[in-house]
Symmetry: C2
Subunit: 151 residues, 2 copies
Amino acid sequence: MGRHAPGKPGAGEAATLEDALELVRSEGGRVTSSRRLLLQALFASSGHRTAEDLAVEVQAEAPDIHISTIYRNLEELERLGVIVHSHFGHGPTTYHLATSVHGHFVCEECGRLIEVPESIFDGLAKQARTRFGFTIDPHHFAMLGRCADCS
Amino acid sequence: MGRHAPGKPGAGEAATLEDALELVRSEGGRVTSSRRLLLQALFASSGHRTAEDLAVEVQAEAPDIHISTIYRNLEELERLGVIVHSHFGHGPTTYHLATSVHGHFVCEECGRLIEVPESIFDGLAKQARTRFGFTIDPHHFAMLGRCADCS
DNA sequence: ACGACTATTGCGACTCGCTCGCATTAGCCA
DNA sequence: TGGCTAATGCGAGCGAGTCGCAATAGTCGT
């Protein structure tokens, strides 16, 4: 816990919806209803959500909120460090709160997602660094393969 | 060496263009000029090629060959085990001969690609299997991060 | 060498997941 | 209350494929 996407100045974390809105405000952003609804959706379920998915939920409350607004807000919230996104093989980008960063294994056959502690990548990270000077980011892209049921 | 994408029945490898065409023929496929030109392009350079990229090269010889034909042939050649594809973060799918399968590190900042031996994933593979019953496929999707220059 | 059979092709239309420009709306602060 | 400008809705566009269909062309048996 306590880690977020690296490198962005002014990034911070938010444990509650109000914290997140406060963070938006403190950066000169405005608290709009689309922002609030989007954050509500994100805080309501702890899982991985696609933009489409979130749009449907937000639009249940306010049907006029456009998908492009969702994307723009997701981008902004990520810049602020409130959320992070990951890619699971084929299929759309998923977003979740930055408070729970972890690695992902995704089954190429059935699509099943397994959340794994980032520490499982420690050995690989070390080798990558010493042998190739490369710093891996195990969170951003999932590791693909086959789950127990499919292999 | 000697390993290819797992699981496909009838899969084989081809060391030369003629071997590959023979394999196509032996599976009831036809040796067409688009097939031959595509394989020529693939054998000519050992790197990672996108479909677009290959299309341009093929079309230099035969301008009428449509991009959809390229995609269909790439799919078929992969089914036969002649080539494999990988995904490098954002950006299009890349294809290369199955004779050199390896892992990939891709820099999220500058896009640089580092080819790494699959053995670097051995420790992770073992942990993934014992702790989660998950068999990783380190070739299909690249591991993202930062290269020495960008970190 | 000739058909017939059917794999393959070219073409165009379409999808998915975004991304962008632009005119309008609406937060926020004085 | 007004003004400044961030944010929004809308629609068009884009990259990377994917698909149905009618026309074409390899291959094989004779």
